[in-house]
């Protein structure tokens, strides 16, 4: 307890460094590839003006100059241009469309996960349902996403990407993300395991004997573990979002990352990966804040090592 600040500080440090480290590593990798980056976009044997292009996109002054230029632009909302996916289009425009879709998808996918966690915490779900959950959890996101895509395409048509059809794609994607790859089963079994371990503590038994409710007593103590689990679940959903968005053709940041990777569009990958890094940083900050809040709450509690006469 003496070093309660260590873990949150490490998380905050990681949260600050991730959005810088991720583009730095990708930039280093771009220059590590055989051939210079300008010739990747515009091979000299097939297109003229490679040198002009390199100068225009700040690729001629080496990785450090490119990185600092890119970071300075990103701070002001300019993420450069797409190299191949939609050549010349500002990546910020692509992100402006993609990020809200992905955030909505993840938020909706969190609904079944959160409901499962609450049900597990309250003890509403018995262990009898575990085998069913485990079987559902074994199904990969790709398979469920294909079923969902087929259902949407049969109902609205293959080229339906607006209005009601777009909303159905989002809802179906969220359901797939929430169920596949053990998202729901992991949330239920993980939350239940945390509370079962805590329930074995003596103070819980004493509190129950005093007529108090179990959850208000245990929750402050399990909150950091639950925050850690929540972060892991959201990261898991973000990982799965790449597949689900690409299969269901949801115009999100995962789809953008996938398309950029497939076409070796470093401009798009750089921005999309930084977007993912920012989301991951946000999760680290949330976990750190929960840990700090719990530590402060615990510090406010009376010190039980004092003799009863010393207590106020």
């Amino acid at each position: 307890m003496r070093r309660w600040w260590l873990r949150p500080m490490v998380r905050l440090l990681a949260a600050v460094s991730l959005p810088i480290l991720v583009p730095a590593i990708i930039t280093a990798l771009i220059w590590a590839l055989p051939g210079d980056p300008a010739s990747i976009i515009c091979p000299p044997e097939t297109c003229g003006g490679t040198a002009v292009l390199a100068a225009r996109w700040n690729l001629d002054a080496g990785p450090v100059a490119f990185f600092w230029g890119w970071i300075q632009g990103a701070v002001h909302g300019d993420f450069g241009n797409s190299w191949r996916l939609e050549q010349g289009v500002p990546v910020a425009e692509l992100l402006r469309t993609a990020v809200p879709h992905s955030l909505l998808l993840i938020a909706l996918a969190l609904v079944p996960v959160a409901l499962g966690s609450v049900a597990a915490a309250q003890g509403w779900l018995t262990r009898a349902v575990d085998p069913i959950l485990q079987v559902v959890g074994l199904v990969p996101a790709l398979v469920l996403a294909l079923v969902a895509a087929a259902a949407v395409e049969l109902t609205y048509g293959a080229a339906s990407f607006s209005g009601h059809a777009a909303m159905m794609r989002l809802l179906a994607g969220a359901l797939v993300l929430g169920l596949a790859d053990g998202a729901l089963s992991g949330a239920i079994t993980g939350t239940r395991a945390v509370f079962l371990t805590e329930d074995k503590q003596r103070y819980v038994g004493v509190a129950v004997l005093r007529g108090e409710r179990r959850l208000p007593n245990t929750f402050p103590n399990v909150a950091p573990a639950l925050a850690g689990q929540l972060r892991a679940r959201v990261l898991h959903l973000l990982s799965g979002a790449v597949v689900v968005e690409a299969v269901l053709r949801i115009d999100g940041i995962g789809d953008l990352l996938w398309s950029g990777t497939l076409l070796q569009d470093f401009g798009v990958v750089l921005a999309a990966a930084t977007g993912f890094a920012l989301l991951s940083s946000g999760l680290l900050v949330v976990q750190a804040v929960v840990e700090i809040a719990v530590a402060w709450y615990v510090r406010w509690a009376p010190d039980l090592s004092l003799a009863p006469a010393d207590l106020p």
């Binding site: 490490v10 998380r11 990681a14 991730l18 991720v22 590593i25 990708i26 990798l29 590590a32 590839l33 055989p34 485990q134 074994l138 199904v139 990969p140 996101a141 790709l142 398979v143 294909l146 079923v147 087929a150 395409e153 049969l154 293959a158 790859d181 892991a232 990261l235 898991h236 973000l238 990982s239 799965g240 790449v242 597949v243 690409a246 299969v247 995962g254 990352l257 996938w258 398309s259 990777t261 497939l262 076409l263 070796q264 470093f266 990958v269 990966a273 993912f276 890094a277 991951s280 680290l284």
Partner: protein
């Protein structure tokens, strides 16, 4: 009391039987997949349009694709794509898990902090992001599943180490080792038999099996997304077919009037068999 004892004995006997059945099934499936991988042809057979879309009865055992080529060859080539990298990834994670468990038995405090710190750093980003960045920088002529599988294994390692360390701690950690030393046991027997084989085995094998399954699913997902976009896959050479090609071939049968349901069923059956193998391995390695 005797009734309780006999019930417990009966439960142990049933548990032992289910472990043997699960282990046998996993071994059988693994041998079948391994044999399929080894017998995979280098190139698909010459197209025979007369057999296009042939079902399993017309062209046993699995039917044919839109150009009359046997789906059996798709299954074999797909198995050859995933077999070695998934096993290597599984073994890597198992090695990390054993290391995590043993470290927890040898010293406490700083080792757990080290494992947790490693996990925090490695697990801070979505796994798919890291895998795609690795895929991005693999040269086109060196594409393969192995680097991606190893990346996945490396990302999964902290979780496996953490779980194995928790098992060792529940066991008593350093005190357990000291107690066995007091009995006069040597290091190989303590760590190799009592710690790893008897106590860490369920966690280590389950983690390894899960990662093997995840690597197969990762390959199918990456290949499917690439094939659906008419692009080469990151995970194998263009001359090879993946199990994702079966899904891609079969998917239109869900939304259009294309007779490729048999390809979809075969693809899903192969995915299901991999999930069953992983699940069975976990059951077979369970503690008594």
């Amino acid at each position: 009391m005797s009734c309780t004892r006999s019930q417990a004995r009966e439960q142990t006997r049933k548990g032992g039987r289910s472990r043997w059945v699960a282990g046998g099934f996993a071994l059988l499936c693994a041998v079948a997949l391994g044999a399929a991988a080894l017998s995979a042809p280098e190139h698909l057979m010459v197209p025979d349009m007369a057999r296009a879309y042939a079902g399993p009865f017309l062209m046993p055992p699995f039917g044919a694709d839109q150009r009359g080529r046997a789906l059996l060859e798709y299954a074999e080539q797909g198995a050859s794509v995933v077999a070695m990298p998934s096993v290597v990834a599984g073994l890597t994670v198992m090695a990390f898990a054993v290391l995590g468990g043993l470290m927890s038995c040898l010293a406490t405090g700083w080792t757990n902090t080290l494992i947790q710190g490693f996990g925090e750093i490695v697990g801070a980003l979505p796994r798919m992001l890291v895998v795609l960045v690795v895929a991005l920088v693999i040269p086109k002529d060196a594409r393969g599943l192995l680097p991606l599988a190893l990346t996945w294994a490396f990302l999964a390692a902290p979780g496996a180490m953490d779980e194995a360390a928790a098992v060792s701690e529940r066991l008593g950690g350093t005190r357990f080792v000291e107690a066995l030393r007091a009995h006069g046991y040597g290091r190989p027997r303590i760590f190799g038999w009592h710690v790893v084989a008897l106590n860490l085995r369920p966690v280590v094998v389950r983690q390894g099996a899960e990662v093997m399954m995840q690597v197969v699913f990762l390959e199918i997902a990456l290949s499917y997304l690439a094939v659906a976009d008419d692009q080469p896959s990151f995970t194998h050479a263009d001359s090879l077919m993946s199990w994702a090609d079966l899904l891609n071939l079969g998917y239109p049968s869900l939304v259009l009037d294309v007779p490729t349901t048999h390809a979809l069923v075969l693809g899903l059956a192969l995915i299901g068999s991999v999930a069953l193998v992983a699940f069975s391995l976990g059951v077979a390695a369970r503690a008594r």
